[in-house]
């Protein structure tokens, strides 16, 4: 039963969403199912928050290595939750100006807004900024010309890199461009095609795009097949043991 009920729910909702794609009459059914999911996810968030607290409290109480990090997590979690729920520092809205809780919980000037603006945004931006260094280290490793394939990759990357900068104009700007008012000759097209910015366009628009579309077709078929297996109950690995 523990496996059958979720399977039936998943299959029913899945088929409703498929049907609502093709039958305009049932469009709202699909939208409603997605709203149910949102409600479910919101309820499950309590579960996640509870688990976060439990795990970190346990770590602090057992004084396991790194317990100080857990203490910071608990403090940050509880402070954010409290100021958000109690709408600390929010300004009443214009319609209900005499009700102190009528303001937007994340309105400008509120404590939660302050936490977002001055703590979460800078922290996430810092993490995102680190990506630049990771890209450099990954590129260094990926572009080492160890064999034929890696050398080709390096050469292609080098052309694209130059083609996207002014270096392309400096290095190959002397090659003749195609004349707009005359029928281009074979050599005219060849020289024009060898300009770095044109080579970059060709690599990105032909080779890269073709490969990317091939991957996308495979992904689309994989999604269709996997979804079908889930809806028909052929793949049940995500449903667990079935034991109560």
């Amino acid at each position: 039963m523990k496996r059958t009920a979720p399977l039936l729910i998943a299959a029913t909702v899945g088929f409703i969403i498929i049907v609502s794609t093709f039958i305009p009459y049932t469009e709202s059914w699909g939208e409603d199912s997605m709203i149910w999911f949102d409600i479910l996810a919101a309820v499950a968030f309590v579960l996640g928050g509870g688990n976060l607290l439990k795990m970190n409290l346990k770590k602090v109480s057992e004084r396991r290595p790194g317990w100080a990090y857990s203490a910071i997590i608990i403090a940050a979690f509880l402070i954010t939750l409290t100021v958000g729920l109690l709408k600390v520092g929010t300004h009443p809205n214009e319609v209900f100006w005499n009700k102190p809780w009528s303001g937007d919980y994340i309105g400008e000037g509120s404590a939660l807004w302050w936490i977002y603006e001055y703590l979460i945004y800078p922290l996430t931006s810092t993490m995102f900024a680190m990506l630049a260094f990771y890209i450099a280290s990954a590129a260094f490793r990926a572009f080492r010309a160890k064999n034929m394939e890696a050398s080709l990759l390096l050469g292609t990357a080098f052309i694209v890199l130059l083609g996207r900068t002014y270096a392309a104009i400096i290095l190959t700007g002397w090659l003749p461009e195609l004349a707009h008012d005359a029928e281009p000759s074979f050599f005219g097209q060849l020289w024009n095609g060898l300009r770095l910015e044109k080579l970059t366009e060709t690599i990105m628009g032909v080779f890269n795009l073709a490969g990317s579309r091939a991957i996308n077709i495979g992904i689309a078929l994989g999604i269709a097949s996997t979804s079908l297996k889930v809806l028909l109950g052929i793949d049940r690995s995500y449903l667990g043991t079935g034991e109560d």
Binding site: L52, L131, I219
Partner: protein, 414 residues
Amino acid sequence: MRTARLRSLAIAAACWLGAIDVLAQDSTQPPEPPAPPSELQVRDRPSDNGQALLISWAASADDAPDGSPRVLEYWIFRRELGQAEWGEKILDSPAGTTAKTDDQKIKVGTQYEYRIVAVGVNEGVSEPAELLGGVGSVRQWFNVQKAWFGILLVVICGAVVYFIEAARGGKDLKVRKIAGLEAVDEAVGRATELGRSVLFINGIQDINDIQTIAGLTVLGNVARRTAEYDATLEVPTSRSLVMTTARETVQAAYLSAGRPDAYNENNIYYLTDEQFGFVASVTGRMVREKYAACFYMGAFYAESLILAETGNSIGAIQVAGTAMPSQLPFFVAACDYTLIGEEFFAASAYLSGEPHQMGSLKGQDFGKVVGAVLLLLGCGAATLASMAGSSDGALASLAAYIRDYILGSKGLFP
């Protein structure tokens, strides 16, 4: 002399009076309104739930692109059949346009009347063009625009079901080796030898993303291996529902491996929904715990490279699988093995080794054949039409039909 002076005074007075008259006319009379639009037509928007009506009209004679811009825009009014007043305008459309979609709270079964006017400078309004007698929207039973999509879906899903049934019936199906999946045993074995843990990240999307489901099926197989090898498996998640489902999956895997006692639900835990908060926590743990093997299976965004590079820096053997094309290069650069797109979705069938699951892979292959045939037909027809220099011949029409109808959303028939 005196007569001449009187005459010039009279002329000057007349000029002043004339000028004053002109000025008075300019300030009191509105500018001449533009010519009205005509041929107002309203029809139901096809293939929808009765939420919209399509309005079209012939432009005002003063709405000429090359002339002086006497029309600035068109105002459209609507009223329910039987009402006397038109009320406020419901839509406006700039000069030069001759069509607009009215999706402003259209009620199915209600009949509406429409009026359109051209508006010029200083809001000089033309005579209206009206559509009286009532027109209403209809709720359609089938979205014809998606007919070909539906046909392709039925054909490909039908092929998947057929091959699954064929596999159940004992048909031998051969599937090529996928190096990334062959490496699962190697990675878990290495973790066991080193006495370190295995890390599994199921992407950062919720359970309603098919990549998360595909990742969970791989997690089940990885968990079975860790149970067999007695290695520790850690699964941090960024969604509560994924945590709950991952716990069920891992528990089932430990049970099927005959090691239910080794299952520890505390190793599958929720961190945060925040993308970079999750990454910060996971990478911090990676550096401290020094996992021997890291699996990244699911939907990833900018965090993919941060995770994979950190894993690389601690010397972990890494296997990634995702259907996010933009993240694949990062995983390829930083991981030992990467399951690219369809390989990732094939993983569960491949790892399970169950014949009926393998059948689904053959169904996918059939879909590829259909795609390849359409590609060849379309490209061939377009190339031959281009070489023949014809833009409206049979070949060009075939290429256009494939592009706009079969792969597009123009419906079933031209």
